[in-house]
């Protein structure tokens, strides 16, 4: 579904990504891991049209979307749950969630999805009329993920899913993402919690200093000695 071919990008004079090639096949869960500063968020920003690359291409279902505006990319069915939540802090939890569905027109399905998000994250239902910014960090993270799920995108991109979440919440998320994946959602997961990422994804890419240094089935990456040492802390 998503193909990145020899992508190079950065911020002004600072080049971050060098010649990155990866692909997220339709219906799969793919993960990208790497240290802070390796270029993971830069890659997502480039894919989503927030920054323009200096070289290479981004394709969605074979169509070149390189350099297109973010709103056009969202319209094509890509939703990103950004790192650091980026909720609308003065709006209610419920309004933040509903906003995730703003491009959708299927009111009944939207209501159904909201009920499902509340089932996943009961605390959000409890706090639905509270200002989103008044919740704890972890609760805000749940709201941000819920908002992403409300978009029912074809491709859901998650940047640092596990940030600030209690271990038990990760169980809930792994189950939830596995469920939407079975229902047909393609997921691209950028993640520091490599163990969780490898539990979810079938294919993984390892980014170091802006380059893909390793890729393959997560079952193999898990056993790779470099990955174990650098990312699994074993």
């Amino acid at each position: 579904m998503l193909e990145v071919r020899q992508l190079s990008a950065g911020y002004g004079a600072m080049q971050i990504l060098r010649d990155v090639t990866l692909s997220v096949p339709a219906g799969e869960i793919v993960t990208l891991v790497g240290s802070n500063g390796a270029g993971k968020s830069t890659l997502l920003n480039t894919v989503c049209g927030i920054i323009k690359p200096v070289g290479g291409r981004v394709l969605l279902d074979g169509t070149d979307i390189t350099g297109r505006a973010s709103e056009a990319i969202v319209a094509l069915g890509i939703t990103q749950v950004p790192e650091g939540r980026r909720l609308f802090p003065t709006m209610t939890v419920r309004d933040n969630l509903i906003l995730g569905a703003y491009r959708r027109r299927d009111a009944k399905a939207i209501a159904h999805d909201l009920a499902w998000v509340y089932e996943l994250f009961p605390i959000l239902e409890e706090r639905q009329r509270q200002a989103a910014g008044s919740m704890s960090g972890g609760e805000q993270q749940m709201c941000a993920i819920g908002r992403g799920l409300m978009a029912r995108p074809r491709l859901l991109i998650l940047d640092e899913l596990s940030l600030g979440l209690a271990p038990i919440m990760l169980d809930t998320l792994v189950d939830a993402l596995t469920k939407v994946h079975h229902e047909g959602m393609t997921i691209f997961l950028v993640e520091q919690d490599v163990a969780t990422a490898f539990d979810l994804a079938t294919t993984g890419y390892v980014l170091e200093n802006g380059r893909v240094v390793l890729s393959g089935p997560t079952s193999e990456l898990r056993a790779d000695s470099h990955v174990k040492k650098a990312y699994l802390g074993l």
Binding site: N36, G37, L163, G164, A166, V174, V194, K229, G233
Partner: protein, 250 residues
């Protein structure tokens, strides 16, 4: 019997009708690292906010080095020697890294720097301690996630605290970065600073904590040695979850 450097008795914090922290009692023993864990929204940061005076308590009492801490303005708490880091690091954007840390040196515990030159020297020392001295003159805005966390840590350390409370400093770090951060925190403890560490990264909690306090819906669920607490089935059910328990058994 170790000395309690900080004591909280029946600390309660309500927002409207909602008790975010309800009747929490604990002691922080001098020289220890106390881990504070609990589900999201269980009141951990709120507890630290109340203990450090960032928020007024609704009820209860906190004492530090045998004097009352509750009711003191926030900056007084810093002057007495209690400092903390914030989950979302908000540096002074128009200042460099070392200047941000100097703010800590200037507004820290009594006896600290009161002139810019001393503050700069102290800030540089602390930056060297956290291995961020190579970025001293960089604009604070330009730091990446691990660097920003180290700057925040440096800022809190520059206040020369006796007690330091860390709020999820490991979030967003990969396992190798977590190992480095754990080592750094141990070296802070070796300097004689007592620590309270809020974390969801269990690897760090296991490696650091002498004791662990668990909050659940604003109340104390349990408290004790890591081996006991992390195997407590109530803690597994409320907080650790199935994947953690499976990995722990493996």
């Amino acid at each position: 019997m170790s000395v309690a450097i900080l004591s909280a008795r029946g600390v309660t914090k309500k927002f409207g009708g909602l008790a975010a922290v309800a009747d929490v009692t604990f002691d922080l023993h001098e020289g220890e690292i106390l881990g504070l864990i609990g589900p999201n929204g269980s009141g951990k940061t709120t507890l630290v906010n109340v203990v450090t005076g960032a928020l007024p308590a609704t009820g209860g009492e906190v004492r530090f080095a045998d004097r009352p801490l509750t009711g003191l303005p926030w900056h007084e708490v810093g002057r007495l020697g209690v400092s903390r880091t914030f989950q979302v690091v908000k540096p002074f954007r128009n200042l460099s890294v070392v200047e941000n840390v100097m703010v800590g040196a200037l507004f820290g515990a009594r006896g600290g720097a009161r002139d810019l030159r001393t503050a700069r020297r102290q800030a540089e020392e602390v930056l060297a301690f956290v291995a961020l001295d190579h970025r001293a003159d960089a604009p604070a805005e330009g730091l990446n996630v691990p660097e920003r966390k180290r700057m925040e840590l440096a800022r809190a350390l520059a206040m020369r605290p006796r007690v330091l409370m860390l709020d999820e400093v490991m979030a967003g770090l990969n396992p190798a970065e977590i190992d480095a951060a754990v080592e750094l925190i141990k070296r802070i403890r070796d300097r004689g600073i007592t620590l309270l560490v809020i974390e969801h990264v269990m690897k760090a909690i296991r490696n650091l904590s002498d004791r662990i306090l668990v909050l659940f819906h604003g109340q104390t669920l349990t408290e004790g040695a890591p081996g006991d607490v992390l195997n407590d089935e109530r803690v597994v059910a409320a907080y650790l979850g199935r994947r953690y328990a499976e990995a722990a058994r493996a």
